[in-house]
């Protein structure tokens, strides 16, 4: 029985290959995913810092005129 053997996971990905679309989509997902995750963490840290600053400002005693 003839068996197709590929040297790597994407060696068979060509223009007319049914796997080429998934190759493109996986590349897009893998490129965007770390940016989205790190952006999400950064946004959460910034919002936490702002919330803490707001809380501190509300708790601080007001200075007399």
């Amino acid at each position: 029985m003839n068996t197709l053997v590929l040297a790597c996971a994407v060696c068979g990905a060509g223009v007319d290959d049914p796997g080429s679309a998934s190759y493109v989509w996986m590349s897009v997902i893998i490129s965007l995913l770390p940016l989205l995750m790190l952006g999400g963490i950064l946004a959460w840290v910034v919002s936490s810092v702002r919330a803490a600053e707001k809380k501190d400002a509300e708790a601080a005693p007001r200075s007399e005129p």
Partner: protein
């Protein structure tokens, strides 16, 4: 000079950065699997003589793992309210997670006995890499959650430890449905 205090727990932030790296590891593996499967000539995936993955039986495992995540969310709410029953609910979440790992181990043994090994085919290699790596993460997360539970039961748990353990467990819970949907179907 104002005293400095952490706004975000170092345990949670450190765990989140670790989780980002782990998500990328799984994304790379799932990506290679998807491309390999879609590039396979028609009728050659899965390969001849290889068993079919038990998607129906694994659905029960998936429900157990998702349930453990929901129960841990409940435990978190109780912990924030300083409820004395929080550690029992945490133990419930741990038990559901342990049941998931045990059932997965049984499934693995059945598939190995049917000939699906790491070197039997591309499907076997990807299956054991992706699902095995998730199982290792689940076992480590169970140990971490178990240690947090022991500290809770003694009334000495640090909030950072519990939240860090929860973050890791939620990663294990939320990663699984993606793996299940991509690999088993």
């Amino acid at each position: 000079m104002r005293a400095r205090r952490p706004v975000v727990s170092s345990a949670i932030l450190g765990t989140l950065i670790f989780v980002v790296a782990e998500v990328m590891f799984f994304s790379g593996a799932i990506s290679a699997f998807t491309i390999s499967r879609n590039s396979a000539p028609p009728g050659t995936w899965p390969m001849l003589g290889q068993p079919r993955l038990p998607a129906e039986a694994t659905a029960l495992n998936t429900v157990l793992l998702l349930l453990s995540g929901v129960v841990l969310l409940w435990a978190n709410r109780l912990y924030r309210k300083s409820s004395p029953s929080a550690h029992w609910v945490t133990l419930g979440a741990w038990s559901f997670g342990a049941a998931f790992v045990a059932l997965q181990a049984l499934e693995w043994m059945r598939l190995l006995s049917q000939g699906l090994t790491l070197t039997s085919s591309a499907l076997g290699g990807f299956f054991h890499l992706i699902v095995g790596a998730h199982a290792v993460h689940a076992m480590v997360a169970l140990v971490v959650l178990g240690l947090a539970w022991v500290q809770m039961a003694r009334g000495k748990v640090h909030s950072g430890t519990f939240f860090g353990a929860q973050t890791f467990w939620y990663f294990v819970v939320l990663m699984w449905p993606v793996i299940y949907a991509r690999v088993y179907f």
